[in-house]
């Protein structure tokens, strides 16, 4: 990476840099904000349909005016984009066609009509038609001052409107019926959100083009979903991701002029999204796998301690050292796994290594007794309150014994009247030392 280019870029001395960066940040942040709501309404792909559907509108504006007036094209784009969204809603409401098929159908048909109009314009030989390509494939770097003003105003309209109706949109996105009960004008809000989506697409499309516009709406919002459950924060994070991608895209095409801004914006925000899918705390793939792995280890540990307890029960001596063979015979377990578990339990101070095997420490005994106790309490509970036969309760207890909290344990004991024996007539261990 070129240090000088980086410094030049972030000094914003070049007015072109200023325009492009400001434009990109406004476009992508406002698109991401609207995208967060469409994502929550499970309409993530409507952005794709709208972005394709603006083509006939742009062409019509061009055919009528015969000039490349950006304002007229935006109006045309807005009109057909809006029509497309209404068509999707109408088709899904009035027939058995599902949302995905309606989106694909509207997308391809509107774009097809646009293609027909486009060939017409090309044949007319109007030189100004080259500007139409920007609408389809995106050319953010060619934004000039006066265009930027239009986009800046549109983005501000989006930002302000979303902020004003924030609470209503939140309720609408999560629970339509509740929104209705609260007296929100649900249909009008729907229409407003639809219009905002179209506006976001129309504003962003010159930057990234028809195909990639869907990403401006979906990708930052999908990434943000992995960092929080709070919708306010989600919208803010989505906007921040979008803005960052906007700056990064502008910088990359500044440092390497052959590189297109729009696609790099999309790649950067996709990488943020992939990073979030994998590594976001709690919801990411890796942290979730790690949690599962840790839970499995806790279960193996507890089951191994239980083996010592069960063996101890046979000769009423819980402190005896046990050999590996004895342990394997008592419960089917693979030897390498058992060895690893025993090593871990020694390290945790639950077991101690002895000349001829392993034995429970005081702490290990307490832990083992508690797991067995929970198992038997649960068996008793199932047998007494659920009317499940005594020989059917074991498997369920085998799972729940690792989950029950001390509070539930107390409640169980209380409900069962502080019992001594489980349904198989074996003693339920109380606490205490070896």
């Amino acid at each position: 990476m070129d240090m000088q280019a980086l410094l030049d870029f972030f000094s914003f001395a070049d007015p072109n840099v200023r325009y492009v960066v400001l434009g990109n940040v406004l476009l992508s942040a406002s698109a991401a904000m609207v995208g967060a709501f469409t994502l929550l309404q499970k309409k993530a792909l409507v952005g794709d349909a709208v972005s394709h559907a603006v083509l006939p509108g742009v062409c019509a504006a061009f055919l009528f005016s015969g000039s490349k007036s950006i304002a007229l094209m935006l109006i045309g784009a807005f009109a057909t984009g809006w029509l497309a969204l209404v068509a999707i809603d109408y088709i899904t409401a009035q027939s058995k066609i599902k949302k995905d098929a309606a989106i694909g159908l509207v997308l391809s048909v509107f774009f097809g009509v646009g293609m027909v109009m486009m060939t017409n314009i090309q044949q007319s030989g109007n030189a100004a038609q080259s500007g139409l390509d920007h609408f389809i494939f995106g050319k953010a770097a060619t934004l000039i001052g006066s265009d930027l003003l239009i986009f800046a105003i549109l983005s501000l309209v989006l930002l302000v409107t979303v902020s004003l109706f924030f609470k209503a949109f939140v309720v609408l996105s999560f629970d339509r019926a509740y929104a209705q009960a609260l007296g929100y004008p649900v249909r009008r809000l729907d229409l407003l959100l639809t219009s905002l989506t179209v506006l976001a697409v129309v504003t962003g499309i010159t930057a990234v083009g028809v195909v990639l516009m869907a990403a401006m709406l979906v990708t930052p919002a999908a990434a943000a979903r992995y960092w929080t459950d709070n919708i306010r924060r989600m919208v803010a994070i989505a906007a921040a991701f979008g803005a960052f991608a906007g700056v990064a895209g502008a910088y990359i095409s500044y440092a390497a002029p052959a590189m297109p801004t729009g696609p790099w914006m999309v790649v950067v925000s996709s990488l943020i999204a992939f990073g979030s899918f994998f590594f976001a705390p709690k919801k990411g793939i890796v942290p979730r796998q790690y949690m599962q792995w840790k839970n499995r280890r806790v279960i193996t540990d507890e089951n191994t301690l239980k083996m010592f307890y069960h063996l101890g029960e046979r000769n009423s001596h819980f402190g005896t050292a046990r050999e590996l063979k004895e342990l394997i015979n008592s419960r089917e377990v693979a030897e390498p796994l058992l060895r690893a578990t025993l090593r871990r339990l020694v390290a945790k101070g639950m077991l101690e290594r002895h000349a001829n095997g392993w034995r429970l420490t005081d702490e290990g005994y307490r832990k083992a007794a508690r797991v067995v106790r929970l198992h038997r309490l649960w068996e008793l509970y199932l047998a007494r309150y659920m009317d499940i036969a005594a020989d059917h309760v074991h498997d369920d207890a085998e799972t729940i014994e690792h989950i029950i909290t001390p509070e539930i344990e107390q409640e169980l004991e209380h409900q069962l009247g502080y019992p001594d024996k489980d349904p198989h007539d074996t003693r339920i261990p109380k606490g205490g030392a070896l």
């Binding site: 792909l45 058995k96 159908l105 097809g112 486009m118 297109p260 999309v266 996709s270």
Partner: protein
């Protein structure tokens, strides 16, 4: 006239192949996967072009097929492992791959003679001049027609042989699993068929028409019948009709052929939608009278 014949034949072959697979996509609520694949093939084509240095069909098909399958795998992976909702998974994946494709084209602009327009629009008008000439100089007709016929044959065989499995896994995945049919296997087989079709079709008809053919005729047929076999048959007939009418409309308007075929697809759907919409209501006039 012979030009018209070849173009209509090409359109009809694509329409029938896409339509038959589209029936299953619609039933599985996976229509947009076709959209995703048809865009996600771009980086595969560019990489194949860079590696082979030519526009030969085979490397292109392999490259495009590979990225098409990668796209379906990623969509499925994010959906299952990261709990990402399907539509978002589709949206994130295909735009990423398409963006990578455009960046590759820009980065190797000097070495690539690929027109981005043609990926979206296709060049069905050029089909008649893309001739297959054998070693001894015999002209066998347009090359795409042979390739697309082969693909149609493969897809038809696939549906014929796997009909029961495809039907069961589409309508009742749980029941299919209970019978020992692997839903994952048939998912990926169907996706492979969609990739193959998309990839071999879009060079001649473009991504947009592929989507129109994947979704339009099956959606129209879906309105008209409840029976899967009838749906497949109606889709095939509609596809041929659209290819024929679309071509003559384009001829008459002197406009984009792919665009006109997509527009006719829309007209067919609209006609079916408007004429069938009122059927569930027994008497439309009665409902307008005030109650009580």
């Amino acid at each position: 006239m012979i030009i018209a014949f070849w173009i209509i034949l090409t359109g009809a072959l694509v329409a029938v192949t896409c339509g038959m697979l589209g029936c299953f996509l619609i039933l599985r609520k996976m229509s947009m996967v076709g959209d995703a694949i048809s865009h996600a093939v771009l980086p595969g084509i560019v990489i194949a072009f860079l590696l082979s240095g030519s526009r030969d069909t085979l490397p292109m098909l392999l490259g495009a097929g590979a990225t098409g399958l990668i796209a379906t795998f990623l969509i499925e992976y994010f959906h299952r492992r990261a709990n990402l909702q399907t539509d978002a998974s589709i949206g994130v994946t295909f735009t990423f791959l398409f963006a990578v494709g455009i960046i590759l084209i820009s980065g190797f602009a000097g070495e690539i003679d690929l027109d981005l327009d043609c990926v979206l629009y296709g060049e069905i008008a050029y089909v008649p001049i893309d001739l297959w000439v054998t070693a001894d100089g015999t002209v066998m007709g347009p090359r795409p027609v042979y390739i697309l016929s082969a693909v149609l044959l493969i897809v038809a065989l696939f549906i014929k042989l796997g009909y029961k499995e495809l039907q069961l896994t589409s309508f009742d995945p749980a029941f299919a699993s209970a019978l020992g049919i692997s839903t994952a296997l048939w998912h990926y087989l169907l996706m492979a068929a969609v990739s193959l079709t998309t990839v071999s079709s879009f060079e001649s008809v473009g991504a947009i028409l592929v989507i129109a053919f994947l979704i339009g005729p099956p959606a129209t047929a879906y309105l008209m019948t409840h029976d899967l076999k009838q749906m497949l048959a109606i889709t095939a007939v509609l596809g041929i009709f659209i290819a024929f009418t679309g071509y003559w409309l384009a001829y008459w308007l002197n406009a984009s052929i792919a665009g006109c075929m997509a527009a006719v697809t829309g007209l067919c759907f609209t006609a079916a939608f408007l004429s069938l919409r009122r059927i569930p209501k027994p008497s439309p006039t009665a409902s307008e009278e005030p109650i009580g």
